[in-house]
């Protein structure tokens, strides 16, 4: 039976210290991720979301903390998020209005209505959207890290892979390639206990994902994924090590997917008591809030102010894009290539 990861954080000497401002910034991204997703649920129920809706409830901590450990800003580190890494994209600078527009397939969405949800990029800000084929982003991010190495830039790539995704061929090929080339790449293996409806014991025969990484000759740690500090410290250590030219590092984050695969999935296959346990006693945002408050690092009113600010920002973003138009039909044609600039409009459309 899956139980909350309560083991102590793996000892990773990062020497990282976070200021009160940084602690509040992390809280801001945690709250923003959750509130934005809650807004998306409301929009989904109003049939404003065109396709499926994917939640990261319960996994916001590891997404935000791992991204927060990177160097952010124009042309710094680059990460590649998965469907449940909305938090990491927000940390890297993706705007709530972009996410809302993507889900509602608006003309002004980052992909102009071509792609879904969090499948979009801003390489300058430092995120490269996934495709649906799991594992594919590992070799691609290896290529981004290879470029940093070849250009001798002190930059790092970070890529997420789910427990199910580690069963794909591209995961193994990409990881081996990156390991052999000693690339500056951090791989976050998200052990969230469910690949759609498939539990870990039907996905792999090892106990921890970290064991897989060790087979490629790269260091791997397993950390409590709902402990924001643990994930931050582990990622900081791995990223700085990679930045120093020491190669790939694998971090397994133990967490729990608290919603179905997508909003349509009622996750009836998940034991209710386990879900309750993770929800009541191991919520990453609750744990983070309690810890920073208990250590007297920030005040309750600080957190409350952020909650209010986030709600206002999400309201404003929703109001701003809600009634925007969908893309013009013929805007489907340009951009398959640079040259020719547009696909042919087929003959029968002009009859």
């Amino acid at each position: 039976m899956a139980l909350p990861a309560t083991r102590p954080t793996a000892a990773v000497p990062s020497g990282a210290a976070l200021s009160a401002d940084q602690l509040l910034e992390i809280y801001y991204y945690l709250r923003l991720t959750r509130t934005l997703e809650e807004r998306l649920v409301a929009l989904y129920r109003q049939t404003k979301v065109i396709g499926g809706l994917f939640r990261s409830l319960g996994q916001e901590g590891e997404s935000v903390a791992s991204a927060y450990a990177l160097e952010r800003g124009r042309n710094k580190d680059v990460l590649s998020p998965l469907i449940r890494n909305l938090g990491s994209m927000l940390v890297m600078g993706a705007q709530p209005i972009e996410i809302l527009r993507q889900y509602m397939a608006k003309a002004d969405s980052p992909t102009r209505g071509r792609e879904l949800n969090v499948h979009f990029n801003d390489l300058e800000k430092g995120y490269l959207g996934q495709i649906s084929h799991l594992g594919d982003m590992i070799p691609v991010m290896a290529g981004i890290a290879l470029t940093f190495k070849l250009r001798r830039e002190p930059r790092v790539g970070l890529v997420y892979i789910g427990d199910g995704g580690t069963s794909t061929g591209t995961f193994h090929e990409g990881l081996n390639f990156a390991a052999v080339q000693r690339l500056p790449l951090v791989v976050i293996g998200e052990y969230n206990h469910w690949a759609y409806s498939t539990p870990p014991e039907r996905q792999f025969a090892v106990k921890d994902l970290a064991e897989k990484a060790k087979g490629y000759g790269i260091p791997a740690v397993s950390v409590d994924g709902n402990d924001v500090f643990a994930v931050y410290e582990a990622t900081k250590f791995a990223a700085e090590r990679a930045r120093r030219g020491k190669g790939v590092h694998f971090i397994e984050v133990k967490t729990y997917r608290r919603k179905g695969h997508a909003e349509h999935d009622d996750q009836h296959y998940v034991p209710k008591d386990v879900l309750d346990l993770w929800s009541k006693s191991n919520d990453p945002i609750d744990r983070y809030s309690q810890r920073v408050l208990a250590a007297d690092l920030v005040s309750e009113s600080d957190l409350k102010d952020i909650d209010d600010r986030v709600r206002m920002e999400v309201d404003q973003a929703t109001d701003a894009c809600m009634n925007e138009p969908l893309p013009d039909a013929e805007s489907a044609l340009p951009g398959v290539y640079v040259n020719p600039p547009a696909a042919d409009k087929l003959w029968f459309k002009s009859l």
């Binding site: 065109i50 396709g51 397939a105 608006k106 003309a107 992909t111 102009r112 209505g113 071509r114 792609e115 879904l116 499948h119 495709i131 649906s132 084929h133 799991l134 199910g164 995704g165 069963s167 794909t168 061929g169 591209t170 690949a195 759609y196 409806s197 498939t198 039907r202 996905q203 792999f204 296959y269 969908l326 893309p327 013009d328 039909a329 013929e330 805007s331 489907a332 044609l333 398959v336 696909a343 042919d344 409009k345 087929l346 003959w347 029968f348 459309k349 009859l351």
Partner: protein, 326 residues
């Protein structure tokens, strides 16, 4: 008789073959207790047990490769791709290993790879694909693509019984949209390699398959009512091998051909069909062989874009009117 959906018909076909032949087993992602992403195999684990309904890791290459090995040894695997878009991950296994096995090594590989295809569902570029053209160029594979509930059942049963590897492409837009009265207790076996005349007419022929059969039938109805143009509609059902005889017969009957498919234009199956008509019935043509297909772009997500990119009933009507007047 009982009314069944396309999905239920497919399910019945799988079920009956598993009841009939204990060599048949299913493997794929979330196919067991969950019953598959679209619930095609719901209830199968309860009836047939976990040894015959196997939940696999997310590993399409391993799913198809393992199916091949089991098929060599005398089993009859049915491998599910959760969405057919992920069949690309098993492309090497299917084209290099499975398709060549009989010819190069005398190996029998009677397996079925099946999965939901197609658009019109706002699935975006990775949950809407039609992969038939990628495999049409592969001698050694058979490809079937049912459009009706009857054929969904009849073709899955024939595919499972076939001695060679079959790609069974099912359209998710048809899953619950198509309902049909099917006889109870009667064995339905749709022969592989045979097209079916879905509507009879005399002025022009529409050759199609999958979801666009229904759009073509809708168009044919409209053409009949509004223009007095009667249309022969040929549902290919099997794409590899193509039913040349049925294609040539409809050409000889109407002398004008419109080929309709949901897949993109360039390199699509319409080109192959046009070439065959050219070779076998050129002198019977009274007009150019024309195509209504998707535009040559990855399938976009927004409804406005998807509707424009994919062939619609109105597109077929317009193209058919043009051809009828030619």
């Amino acid at each position: 008789m009982a009314e069944v959906t396309y999905l239920e018909a497919l399910r019945q076909g799988l079920w009956e073959e598993m009841e009939r032949d204990d060599r048949v087993f299913i493997l794929g992602e979330d196919v067991g207790l969950y019953g598959g992403a679209f619930k095609v195999t719901e209830g199968f684990t309860k009836r047939f047990g976990e040894t015959r309904v196997i939940d696999t890791p997310i590993s399409e290459a391993a799913i198809v490769g393992a199916a091949a090995g089991a098929a060599h040894m005398g089993l009859r695997p049915v491998a599910e791709m959760q969405f057919i878009d992920f069949i690309s991950c098993a492309y090497d296994m299917l084209t290099n290993y499975v398709a060549t096995a009989r010819y190069r090594a005398g190996l029998s590989t009677p397996l079925v790879v099946r999965g939901p295809c197609g658009g019109y569902v706002r699935g975006g570029p990775f949950h809407s694909q039609n992969p038939e053209a990628a495999f049409l160029h592969t001698p050694g594979l058979k490809i079937v693509y049912p459009a009706t509930a009857r054929d969904a059942k009849g073709l899955i049963k024939s595919s499972i019984r076939d001695e060679d590897p079959v790609l069974y492409l099912e359209h998710k837009w048809l899953y619950r949209r198509i309902k049909e009265q099917l006889p109870e207790g009667e064995e339905i076996l749709t022969p592989i390699g045979q097209a079916r005349l879905a509507r009879e007419g005399e002025h022009l022929s529409i050759i199609t398959y999958g979801a666009t059969l229904w759009k073509s039938l809708e168009a044919a109805e409209k053409l009949d009512k509004e223009d007095g143009v009667s249309v022969d509609v040929l549902d290919l059902r099997t794409l590899l091998p193509l039913d040349d005889a049925a294609i040539v017969a409809t050409v000889k009957k109407t002398n004008k051909v419109l080929i309709v498919h949901e897949d993109t234009r360039t390199g699509g199956i319409a080109g192959e069909i046009a070439a065959r008509i050219n070779e076998q019935a050129f002198e019977w043509l009274d007009g150019p062989i024309t195509r209504v297909t998707a535009h040559d772009v990855p399938l976009p997500y927004a409804p406005t874009l998807e509707d424009f990119v994919l062939p619609q009933t109105d597109d077929i009507v317009k193209a058919a009117r043009w051809l009828a007047k030619y």
